[in-house]
């Protein structure tokens, strides 16, 4: 019997590990180690200026439970996410269906709606901050049609709406393209058969299109929900969390606590909370895929 160490299967194993090594090392260094550190920091009181780093156990988590401002931040986050997901997905689907027609100019409009996706986020937001001023471009347009526009970024209700719309217009093109690709993958013969059976356009949409593109709906909703929980630059540029605390979403609150108020330990605790929320939502959506998503096989 041969006792050669490098048997074929060992060689294959090594090759396999080498193939995944770059990704694995990257993940460990830039995902798992920072995650571990954030959790470690959340157990400490870290005063940067005084240069103290004291173990406090669960105190930061207790503070989290007692923090009256956290509820406001969670409510603001909920509003933002719900508004963004509903508006983004429905608009993206509507645009995709409209631009899936074989008509002149669809390529032009696809480009128009997609182009904000490739614009720098901060530049995009800064331009919108000018447009949304009380004497800015949006209200100037409204004035032309005789409407006295609100002070968008200063009203408690309109500020959140403005942030959501700015974000939707920025990113709706990405979901639109994903939906377009999915729509084009729906076999045409299904529609032909449905037409022969006398199904209306609405019925065809609900009974053929939606089930056939449901994997894409799931994917886009996960991406959009997770992305909405990470909103930061838009808030920092447009409202800085105001007016009041109406647009202080969780990530912005985390930033304030850690980097502005120098409560790095508590900031890390908020990060752990954010991580748990994102993980939970993703798991829920993933679990529900069996119920929602239609698989051909």
């Amino acid at each position: 019997m041969s006792t050669r160490f490098w048997t074929g299967s060992r060689r294959d194993t090594l090759a396999g590990y080498l193939f995944i090594a770059p990704q694995l090392i990257g993940s460990v260094l830039f995902v798992f180690v920072p995650l571990g550190l954030v959790f470690w920091y959340s157990l400490h009181e870290w005063n940067v200026l005084a240069d103290t780093f004291t173990f406090v156990g669960g105190e930061n988590y207790q503070a989290l439970a007692d923090d009256p401002k956290l509820a406001d931040a969670l409510v603001a986050t909920g509003f933002f996410s719900a508004g963004l997901v509903v508006l983004n997905l429905s608009l993206a689907l509507l645009l995709a269906v409209l631009l899936n027609q074989r008509l002149r100019g669809t390529v032009f409009f696809r480009t128009v709606f997609f182009s904000p996706v490739v614009v720098s986020l901060v530049a995009w937001t800064i331009v919108w901050s000018f447009l949304l001023q009380d004497n800015g471009g949006i209200n100037g347009l409204l004035e032309l049609v005789g409407v006295d526009g609100p002070n968008w970024l200063r009203g408690e209700g309109t500020a959140m709406l403005a942030v959501i719309v700015v974000q939707v217009v920025k990113n709706v093109g990405l979901n639109m393209v994903l939906f377009l690709a999915a729509l084009q993958g729906v076999p045409a013969n299904l529609y032909e058969a449905a037409t022969v059976d006398g199904a209306t356009r609405r019925r065809q949409f609900l009974s053929i299109t939606v089930p056939m593109i449901s994997p894409t709906i799931l994917l886009t909703s996960i991406i959009t929900v997770v992305g909405s929980l990470q909103v930061f630059a838009q808030i920092a540029v447009l409202t800085q969390g105001g007016p009041g605390t109406s647009t202080t979403v969780l990530v912005y609150y985390l930033y304030q606590q850690a980097f502005q108020f120098h409560h790095f330990g508590y900031g890390a605790t908020l990060s752990v909370l954010l991580f748990a929320i994102v993980l939970l939502l993703t798991l829920v959506q993933w679990r529900m895929r069996r119920k929602w998503v239609f698989h051909e096989s």
Binding site: Y17, G242, F261
Partner: protein, 425 residues
């Protein structure tokens, strides 16, 4: 096996980083030294002067091979600085804003300077104005040098006022009528005529509320008591001052409303309240302008100053060398040079003659009335330990005030409820 090795490596990484975060100071080195100083100015003339001073220092101290001035944008200055410190990458010296002074001075992040300054040749620390150094001291020790003590004044666009047929502030001062009532009336009339903004409290923008201390001090109001423990927002002087301001914004339209920006220096407003160091922005102004002291309030004349300090970070590898460079950077000779851009804390330099040499844009009368009188009698803008958190709470609680139908007293009471727990910390 491999997995265990990876986990071990990751754990070691976590531990070493964690330990680095709580690690102590390093031994002072004796080899070549390179210093880094964070500043918020990227003005070429400023940096040129700093580099000249640094070159002179290096010529005398060959051990110091480099002094690097590292500009950080003003808007995020303190946040960036503290993040650098948190990451173990803090500078050796740093400019500090007055609103972060209590945090930096009280935390022990800075090296006490008294001994170094006392040892420095011909430093004459007794020349520093006590009003200027007060904010930067704790327990009788000086933790930062107030390199810039810049009073607030009112810059005026004479052309816009004249076009609106209004008296200029200089005329009003001569007639002893330069009051807030009058200033607001003039601003409102000018705004109506020009269609531009009237009076802009610069950097306020319905967020930077501490800039409003340039107004409410005229009513004898203060954000909190001198000991920092009692909230002043719900007290009568503040209610009166804010009522006046609210009327000036929403009834008289003398100040641009929330969400409207106007830059005086671009000719978009008739008047602006800001620090005199902004005069340099008027070098190429295409309109006639003047600089006058703040108008008088119901409590009479007053002045407000903004400050910036320079400190050496204790945690730096070469903290002693950094402090020594600080002493050189701010000695009488270099202070005189710095006075070209930053109103100095040295009483010997605070004369209209000296300042006139370095501030050619300002007339001796303006220097005397706004700068010298301002520095000697000025109230520093509000600052408190944990300022950033308090500032954020005040901003959020003040937001409901910036509506035409606001219940001023109730809003100001709300500000105190919001910050009382923070003031008590």
């Amino acid at each position: 096996m491999k997995i265990r090795a990876i986990l071990a490596a990751a754990t070691a990484g976590v531990l070493s980083l964690g330990l680095a975060a709580c690690g102590g100071e390093e031994e002072p080195s004796t080899g070549p030294v390179s210093l880094r100083m964070t500043v918020w100015s990227s003005n070429e003339a400023h940096l040129k002067l700093f580099n000249e001073i640094a070159d002179a220092y290096q010529a005398k101290n060959p051990r110091v091979t480099e002094v690097k001035f590292d500009p950080i944008p003003f808007e995020s200055y303190t946040t960036t600085l503290t993040t650098q410190i948190a990451g173990g990458n803090g500078p050796d010296l740093a400019w500090l804003l007055e609103n972060s002074a209590p945090d930096f001075v009280g935390s022990g992040a800075l090296l006490p300077l008294d001994d170094t300054l006392a040892k420095a040749d011909g430093y004459n620390a007794a020349d520093l104005s006590p009003a200027a150094t007060k904010l930067w001291q704790a327990g009788g020790k000086l933790f930062a040098y107030p390199f810039s003590t810049s009073p607030f004044g009112v810059f005026v666009n004479i052309d816009q006022l004249k076009a609106a047929g209004q008296q200029t502030p200089a005329e009003l001062i001569a007639a002893n009528q330069w009051t807030w009532e009058k200033a607001v009336a003039v601003a409102a009339a000018s705004a109506t005529k020009s269609g531009k903004a009237g009076l802009v409290v610069r950097d306020f923008d319905y967020k930077g509320w501490d800039n409003l201390s340039t107004v409410w001090t005229g009513w004898g109001a203060q954000a909190w008591s001198a000991d920092g423990k009692t909230c002043g927002f719900d007290q009568q002087p503040m209610v009166d001052a804010m009522t006046f301001l609210h009327k000036a914004i929403f009834t008289d339209k003398a100040l641009p409303g929330p969400g409207t920006t106007a830059d005086f220096f671009a000719g978009e407003a008739a008047m602006t309240v800001t620090q005199i160091s902004r005069a340099s922005l008027l070098k190429e102004a295409k309109f006639g302008w003047d600089l006058v002291p703040l108008p008088t309030g119901p409590k009479g004349q007053y002045a407000v100053i903004g400050q910036a300090g320079l400190g050496a970070l204790k945690k730096g590898k070469n903290a002693d060398v950094a402090a020594d460079f600080l002493a050189f950077f701010t000695n009488p000779e270099n202070s005189a040079k710095l006075a070209a851009y930053f109103p100095p804390p040295r009483t010997s330099l605070l004369t209209a003659d000296t300042l006139a040499k370095t501030n050619p844009l300002l007339k001796p009368e303006q220097l005397q009335k706004v700068v010298i009188d301002g520095i000697s009698g000025g109230v520093v803008k509000p600052s408190h330990t944990g300022q950033a958190e308090i500032a954020q709470a005040v901003r959020a609680a003040l937001d409901p005030l910036w509506k035409p139908d606001a219940d001023i007293k109730a809003v100001l009471g709300g500000v105190c409820s919001a910050i009382n727990p923070l003031l008590a910390k």
